[in-house]
Symmetry: C2
Subunit: 332 residues, 2 copies
Amino acid sequence: MSAKERYIVGVDLGGTNIVAGAMPVDGSREIAMHTTPTLADTGAEAVADRIAGMIEQVIAQTMTETGATRGDFIGVGIGAPGPLNREKGIVIVTPNLGWKNFPLRDEISRRVSLEATLDNDANCATLGEFWCGAAVGGWNVIGITLGTGIGGGLILEGKLYHGSSDVAGEIGHTSIDANGRRCKCGNYGCLEAYASGPAIAERAREALRGDEGESIMVSMVDGDQRKITAQTVYEASKRGDATAREVVRETARILGTGVANLLNIFNPDIVVLAGGVTQAGDALFQPLRAEVRRRAFKPAVQACRILPGALPLSAGVVGAIATFKQQKLGEL
Amino acid sequence: MSAKERYIVGVDLGGTNIVAGAMPVDGSREIAMHTTPTLADTGAEAVADRIAGMIEQVIAQTMTETGATRGDFIGVGIGAPGPLNREKGIVIVTPNLGWKNFPLRDEISRRVSLEATLDNDANCATLGEFWCGAAVGGWNVIGITLGTGIGGGLILEGKLYHGSSDVAGEIGHTSIDANGRRCKCGNYGCLEAYASGPAIAERAREALRGDEGESIMVSMVDGDQRKITAQTVYEASKRGDATAREVVRETARILGTGVANLLNIFNPDIVVLAGGVTQAGDALFQPLRAEVRRRAFKPAVQACRILPGALPLSAGVVGAIATFKQQKLGEL
């Protein structure tokens, strides 16, 4: 019997970047975190090769840093954009990567000769915050990841909830205005149609109509409003720009309406918001919490804390490691 | 060891009526179902006495019908309007009954000398459909009860989900129009503000403005539109009245928007709608399903059946019995 630590490698596959790293099984620390561009247009096989290369790099660095041997690595948890088939380890479709029915889990497992698991990236990010981040100590946790899209993850009674065909948690695609903005998904009034990064930039451009002279956002993009991104809005908001602040406040009201719905449905103890617009800090969270108080049932409001994510760079990797642990070791 | 059947008594406490009955532990049949008026204004103690009297009546009749002895009754499951504290068996507040912090479970248990459990009425109705009704065979089931209010129950991975402080499942109070109709709960655009019985009647009255001469609803209430109820609308719809049909169709679109949100969040395999407006049958369900298809993700739509409840009179009692069984025997 060895008292040596064992390690799990985690991979967070995104449309733009791949992040990978390792942790001891007890989740006590992050080791050898790396980021590399996905280069999705090189194709699924090439991306799988690149992921396998990163895993080897993470293993080598971890061995150097900790004195572990290769036999101390028990497996790889992978987070990828959905929809996917968890049981078979297959990425069914990913618009961002252009993949169809790619057996990512087994392709990686074969390349690095380690067991692997696959789960949705938003689920992983939520589980990462639950295991080692802002949602530690929670029992019913809702994670919302705000970026190019809006993803969601549900931890109910301490375990990831996947639904009947692995597509639960699409919080970004719940409508708060049945006749509102058309969403890319085909529905109307989805949270994502207002509060994703591109939607925030679009609303900023709309807010600037008739108000161009007064906002610093215009000069930040050298007068070319097409260059305004959500990042422009957060930075201008931090610098006190009134138009940008109103865009952030309106984003907070929209997200607050959606979060209030989730409180009345789930009665969670923690809601974690991560990514993109959460960089706006209190300018986002204060009006968001106020909107939730205004709309949700008091007992649900009293039971719940609404928090920014604590692992902005690594939640996906930490959560991928956690899904491996929960699936293969039966505990977290 | 006795091979004799054992029995559980169920009580469904409503603002208007109390329903009670018994079932064998295996849920194979309903026995001695009774309904009596709640007479809430007689006070909590008097209502508890009346419930205890009904339980004794159910036990006596079951003994007569089955040859069981009093020792064959293992307990009482109670469903009551929330919010309530399940662990302590306390009804915290019920606007319909005028109660505050009433220890209903123990008051009943003491009166009939049987163990008792307490759960939310909408949870019970959903569990009843799951155990013996339309949702048999489901794994992730959402129940929606349409009546004076709109209640909801969530069965996730085969078990009732209660949330962090027993107030989960308030599906009626999710907004599908952030700036829509004011709801009694204080929020705007809640499903309940459009699709509860009173809200449907109100929308029918609005639809009649300028259209009085053509709808049979007017003559059905002898010209006094204040007398229009949701029931008036369903009956007129069945008789082919165009205005009533449009009110039902609009109700279907609203509920369909809410159900689509639930599909994207939960990816359930069954959604059961029961009570009130479901009497409209296909006139409700066909446009409702179409609206869900229009709005929800395809994999979530494909995984889910949307069904009318199969236990219109007894779901609450059957589910109260099921909650007792699940809590005390650890299985269903």
